[in-house]
């Protein structure tokens, strides 16, 4: 074949079996059974994503109820007990049942495809991780039926997502909702650790021929970093959940201040997990941007080695910044200064990444399809989120900002403005690969613009009540503080986002049946997942691919100017 004359592309030609995979149709029960017993990384990836999208809707409903309650002062739409449950469950759900699973879902689906492997390193561990994490999520929500919260008032955890001790101790939370919370997080933590081990092993041991460490696409690189962070950060979370349960049932006194325990100990344990967790969530979002921005700019990523170094650097630095959540807890001035500096240092690698994305756009021919629209919005929002992050790292100012709505606005800028926007971008970008059909571009534009408008109404304006002294996690507020109009705008923005997401859900379902056929490579992209059919066959590649550069499909499409000539 003529691939012989193109040494750079030689390895991929054989892998190019682009007939779409038609999974065998069976009875309804057989199909369900095949999804339950599957160890295929692609099916598990889709399961993760579907599971996370369901909980995204649930947590979204919780957010809407919160915003209805806060739309005006002294509102009594929900009781304080219900409100406390709503924000606790909203936070816990979004972090543990939406953020982590959906990112692991994409990791599961994409990492083996992008490194030219046929599956993850440990397929059965992969299935186990998913099902135990799913069990954790169901357990958490079962608490609505099975638990009793603060003041014996029934149902679902109500201690805030960081669950500061000693509020979670038996004396203050006598029911079982804290137990559901702790055990659910223990279970999903086990799943996360399993998946992290799996991704690390896959990235480092399963790469196809020719894919040296510096030829791995950035997405698997960032997933490896994230997985490393999960291994280091989820362990303290698991430990402190175990300690909390020991306190509650076996007479331990780790956090039981009435018996000499320490409230600060919990805060340290939780934030040693909690801060790296932010990077666990945001690094995959960066990973999506690293794949999508170059393809839609029609240029290679700018400064690949610096991007890898910056990502790994973020991973390491983020392990040393946790106490910036604790500037008001009574650290010494030296401690506050240390964590101010370490937190500010994170902005150097993240700055490098931002500028490299900018340089990737520079000189390109930018196409603004929906995945790129979301990515561009992500870039703007990420810059703002980073700057408010720097403001919060200024410990002396943080004494004012901490636990105010400014913080809520900041982390929603990160979690929604960066992470959720990139998840949408990724869904628009890889949905064709997963289903063989394109998402509707017109609905995508509606989704995008409503989302942008709603997002900025909500989260831009949410900064200001914080600057005006509004603390977070309050079920109502006084009318004379100047927060009324701002909260009204924030709530309206929230409802607009909800409409945008409903359009998106409709798009997901509609396009699955009616979408335009995607073909193997609808975006004219360069990484290996586009070398196989959409959806890919269970074995991914008919023969093992072989690569000579970071962009094997570029080499294939541009034999006159292959990347491999420059690496």
């Amino acid at each position: 074949m003529d691939g012989q004359s193109m040494p750079a592309a030689q390895g991929i030609e054989g892998a190019l079996d682009r007939t779409p995979a038609h999974s065998a149709r069976g009875t309804y029960l057989e199909v369900v059974h095949s999804w339950i017993v599957t160890v295929d990384h692609k099916k598990l990836g889709i399961l993760y994503i579907a599971y996370a999208l369901v909980f995204l809707l649930v947590a979204g409903v919780e957010a809407m109820l919160i915003r209805i309650q806060l739309i005006r002062p002294h509102n009594d739409f929900v009781s304080p007990f219900t409100f406390n449950r709503l924000f606790t469950m909203h936070g816990t759900t979004m972090v543990f049942l939406v953020g982590m699973p959906i990112l692991f879902g994409f990791g599961n689906y994409l990492v083996p495809l992008m490194i030219g492997a046929r599956d993850m390193a440990f397929p059965r561990l992969n299935a186990f991780s998913f099902w135990i994490a799913a069990f954790g999520g169901l357990l958490l929500y079962y608490s609505f039926i099975g638990g009793v919260g603060l003041a014996g008032t029934g149902s679902a955890p109500d201690v805030a997502w960081f669950a500061y001790a000693p509020l979670t101790e038996k004396a203050f939370s006598p029911g079982h909702t804290v137990d559901y919370w702790a055990v659910a997080l223990l279970a999903s933590g086990i799943g996360s650790i399993g998946t992290a081990i799996n991704i690390l092993a896959t990235v480092f041991c399963m790469r196809c021929k020719g894919m040296t460490l510096l030829r791995i696409p950035l997405l698997p690189w960032l997933y490896a970093t994230t997985s490393f962070l999960v291994l280091v950060a989820v362990s303290p979370l698991t430990a402190c959940q175990a300690m909390l349960l020991i306190d509650r049932y076996l007479g331990g006194h780790f956090f039981d201040t009435q018996a000499g325990g320490s409230a600060i100990l919990w805060a340290h344990f939780f934030w040693i997990f909690g801060h790296p967790e932010v990077y666990v969530l945001v690094l995959p979002a960066f990973a999506f941007a690293n794949e999508i921005i170059p393809v839609f700019s029609r240029k290679a990523i700018f400064g690949y080695p610096a991007m890898v170094a910056a990502s790994v650097g973020i991973g390491f630095i983020s392990l040393g910044v946790w106490a910036h959540h604790m500037f008001t807890i009574g650290l010494t001035s030296f401690g506050n200064a240390f964590f101010t500096l370490s937190t500010m240092l994170v902005s150097i690698p993240t700055g490098i990444k931002t500028f490299n994305w900018l340089a990737t756009l520079w000189g390109g021919k930018i196409r603004f399809e929906t995945p790129m629209l979301f990515s561009v919005a992500f870039l703007f929002q990420w810059v703002i989120a980073g700057l408010t992050g720097i403001m919060l790292s200024v410990s002396a100012w943080n004494w004012q900002l901490h636990n105010s709505y400014f913080v809520v606005a900041h982390f929603h800028y990160v979690l929604v403005g960066a992470i959720v926007f990139m998840i949408f971008a990724a869904l628009y970008y890889w949905y064709p690969k997963m289903t063989g059909r394109m998402l509707d571009e017109r609905l995508g534009k509606w989704h995008f613009w409503l989302m942008v408008i709603g997002f900025h109404m909500t989260f831009d304006f949410m900064h200001f009540p914080g600057l005006l002294g509004m603390p977070r996690q309050i079920y109502t507020y006084e009318p004379d503080r100047g927060w009324n109009t701002l909260n009204f705008i924030v709530s309206i923005g929230g409802f607009i986002q909800a409409i945008a997401i409903l359009i998106f859900v409709y798009n997901l379902v509609h396009s699955y049946f009616r979408g335009e056929e995607a073909g193997p490579d609808p975006w004219d992209a360069w990484t290996l997942e586009w070398a196989t059919s959409s959806p890919p066959p269970s074995y991914n590649f008919a023969t093992d691919p072989q690569v000579a550069s970071r962009r094997p499909l570029w080499d294939l499409k541009h034999p006159e100017d292959p990347d491999s000539a420059f690496e």
């Binding site: 320490s262 409230a263 101010t340 919005a377 004494w399 200001f464």
Partner: protein
Amino acid sequence: MRSRPKSSSPLCRFSAAVFAFCATCAHASLPTSIFAPHSTPASEENKLSYFVLAISALIFLGVSSLLVYALLRYRARPNDDTEPPQVFGSLQIELSWTIIPILIIVVLFLGTARVLFSVQDAPKPPSALDVVVIGHQFWWEFRYPQYNVVAANELHLPVSTRSAPRPAYMKLTSADVVHSFWVPQLGGKTDLLPNRVNEMWTDPQQTGMYVGQCAQFCGPQHAKMLLRVYVDTPEDFQKWISGQQRMQAELGQARASLVSQPDAGSSNPAVPPHAPATHAAPAAQSGDASDAIDARNGQLVFEQQACINCHTINGTIANGRYGPDLTHLMSRATLAAGAAENTPGNLQAWIADPSAFKPGCLMPAMHLSDRQNAQITAYLLTLK
């Protein structure tokens, strides 16, 4: 689809943000704005915030204009299917955007460290006022060890001028869960942790009333754990202090004659002697006069109920520590940590059913008759 989809929105967005920010600053008169400082720590934090905001605004302007330019300039033109030149990186450029941020961070860090150390490690002057702040679910206890005064929910501080500095040095702790003391115009917040003492100071420079609230989620009524600070002239503060002190002895003597129990005022009345014989017991004892709605009968009901297990009224057998000290209840403008104005009507309604004001608060409804509630109210109204 390629017609400038993001072109104008960042600029609009930025100007909207600037406008909103100016609006915020213009409203600095709002009671809890962090941009209207009235003490040294708050002013230092405020100045630092402007410095950081200015640097951030410059960075944002720079980065976002580059981004907007790139999106406009390098958007794909119709009918152009060629690929642009592939550029893989540039060491010089990448070094520059590594080193410049490092320099910015050095500046930001030094600016922060100056304020951080000067505020947090400020030496305590001999003229300082000591205050102990104790957080409770869901109210505040204030103790003035130099004056032997205990107050609740409304903190009184003397004004601290340059010529006569009188900063308040607060030791903060908690009786139950974690709380956080935050009065934005007097300074940043500090957490109150059980089993630990934190410190903060403030030197309010202008008399007036400042408000704030608990800033660490502490349970169902976190939202209504409000906080007031009255900053008085030195004379008014002294008057307030001596009011709080003088009344103790006076009330003690005045009440000793009223109280039915022989051991009134003793230090160990942990169990109310007549606890079981609560409802309408006074009425049964003697005729109409003994059931009148007056302070004397109110005190009897108060002392025969569990009220005294949680509340202190100096000079009587009531010496509980679980709820706020009521010795000078009527010197406070609000009830229930700011949840309601301190009016006779609210007071009686609060006693009848506290959870109508603060669902989930720890004071139970005692299920007394309306008459008994009115009697207790009449008694509490005398606690000036």
